[in-house]
């Protein structure tokens, strides 16, 4: 299985987990054209797209997916915010999913769980596939209420560091009020480390740091800090990152 990062910032988020026969898209924050390129135009292997919440950097291109008959999965709250309740076009409707209700897409088993973000009904995903093992996808959440057993790969938000955020506020580059929203909606490096420390990482093959803030993060520092703390292979989800994402490194 391969992980391809098509975008991982406030400009647009999208990740593709794929092998030769099936591909799962997580987030529709970049255009379908980019996704098609990532799967080498083998659109038939797209089993679906998961959406965490309604903010446009995660959902802007949902309609393109629906127009192409690619099933899109989101919570009821997210669908409501995006205007899909009461639509008269059944072929253009996403599928409703609930926190705690497991479902299958091809060989992917997906367990959505609730996260902490300033959105209607945001979700994170625990995804299992025979090749990847258990994958945690956790973004746009200022902390995780949950610990996860048996993880093999992790995509986790590492949006900002408190030090950098405070320096930007002190320098007047960021209004103090923005700090409020950031603290209550995104995961800091410090919280990311706490979350990783709370979980059993003994079977984890890759940790991918996602959704780094443009102004309040430092990719190299974050990568080194998480690597030192966990001893694991750590990647920063730069656009275009393409890595093997299997249960084991071999």
């Amino acid at each position: 299985m391969e992980l391809t990062v098509l975008g991982s910032s406030s400009s647009g988020n999208s990740y593709v987990l794929q092998n030769d026969t099936e591909a799962l898209v997580i987030e529709c924050g970049v255009s379908l054209k980019e996704v098609k390129k990532a799967v080498d135009f083998n659109v038939s292997k797209l089993v679906g797209a998961l959406i965490t919440h309604e903010h446009l950097d995660h959902s802007k291109y949902v309609r393109e997916f629906l127009n192409s008959r690619i099933p899109v999965f989101m919570s009821y709250g997210t669908g409501t915010k995006l205007g899909y309740v009461g639509s008269t076009e059944p072929h253009l409707l996403p599928v409703s999913i609930d926190s705690a209700s497991k479902f299958k897409l091809g060989k992917f088993t997906i367990l959505p769980f609730d996260v902490k973000h300033d959105a209607a009904e945001p979700l994170g995903f625990l995804i299992n596939h025979p090749e990847t093992g258990n994958v945690l996808f956790l973004t746009d959440s200022y902390y995780s209420p949950y610990r996860f057993e048996g993880l093999n790969n992790i995509l986790i938000e590492c949006n900002y560091s408190l030090d950098i955020l405070q320096r930007n506020i002190d320098a007047g580059r960021i209004p103090p009020a923005v700090r409020n929203r950031t603290l209550q909606s995104h995961m800091s490096l410090e919280t990311c480390l706490e979350t990783l420390a709370a979980n059993d990482l003994s079977q984890v093959n890759n940790i991918v740091l996602i959704h780094l803030s443009d102004g309040n993060s430092h990719a190299d520092n974050f990568l080194n800090t998480v690597h030192r703390a966990t001893g694991k292979t750590v990647h920063v989800a730069d656009k275009g990152l393409d890595i093997q994402f299997n249960k084991t490194p071999f």
Partner: protein
């Protein structure tokens, strides 16, 4: 003369008259004088500056207001903050700017007088051009501060004097000029969020174990009214109409199941 129209019905005129009569009774002035000098700006009543000065001068408690001007030298460069619309944040955010006042004299004005029967001088807070730039009064579109500088300094000093020594005369209302110049920024608490977040994390973070293979270790379904985040307004959609996992959103129109189920 009040002209009744669809937007200005007679009822509105009557309500305005009632406000004016009430104001007049409270400060012991003629209702017609109040009507002539009360101006509604952005939906808020305010006094004209000259009315405020006249009220102080004629209230009987103070000697007439006087003004003291001081030239503080050339203004020089002044840093100030302007609130500009931010498309992403969908609200006005502060932007730091620099005003070139190297060719402008920094005049200062203080309004003062004494209470009748007393020698103690009652001075207003000093108003100067630097303050006017920093507060954003000087650069406002159509600002009279650039063309009628001394007049605006006197009006503002008189207003500040009244706010300090006889706020009962203005009934807490600002003057017409103040209301146009001064914008109230909504209060936002930026101090306690970190504490609140830390407490919430200490109480709830990483507490519940999830195992994708073990149904006993899976999260509780979130109740519609239990999530702390803003919940969507669902209009007339009742809870019964909420689709289950794997169902399309519009179950009223279609019973088709989503692929993969």
């Amino acid at each position: 003369m009040y002209k009744a129209s669809e937007n200005n019905p007679v009822e509105k005129a009557m309500a305005n008259c009632m406000i004016a009569v009430e104001m007049a009774q409270r400060i012991g002035a003629s209702p017609l004088m109040i009507m002539q000098n009360m101006v509604v700006i952005y939906g808020r009543p305010s006094w004209s500056s000259k009315f405020l000065v006249a009220t102080v001068n004629t209230c009987g408690r103070f000697e007439p207001l006087k003004y003291k001007f001081t030239n503080l030298g050339m203004l020089g460069k002044v840093d100030y903050t302007e609130y500009e619309w931010n498309v992403q944040a969908k609200k006005k955010l502060p932007v730091k700017k620099e005003f070139d006042g190297t060719k402008i004299e920094n005049l200062q004005c203080i309004a003062y007088t004494t209470a009748k029967g007393s020698d103690e001088i009652l001075e207003s807070a000093p108003i100067d051009i630097r303050l006017s730039v920093q507060e954003g009064w000087y650069n406002k579109a159509g600002s009279k501060w650039q063309t009628m500088t001394r007049q605006m300094l006197m009006y503002r000093a008189a207003s500040f004097w009244t706010n300090a020594y006889a706020p009962e005369l203005s009934m807490g209302m600002k003057t017409e000029d103040e209301l146009k110049d001064i914008i109230d920024i909504p209060y936002e608490d930026v101090t306690n969020v970190a504490d609140k977040v830390n407490k919430e994390k200490a109480d709830n973070a990483n507490k519940t174990v999830i195992n994708i293979d073990d149904s006993a270790k899976q999260p509780e379904p979130v109740q519609q009214n239990a999530a702390p985040a803003e919940k969507p307004e669902v209009g007339n959609e009742s809870q019964e109409k909420k689709p289950q996992t794997g169902e399309l959103f519009d179950q009223q129109k279609s019973t088709k199941k989503g692929p993969g189920f």
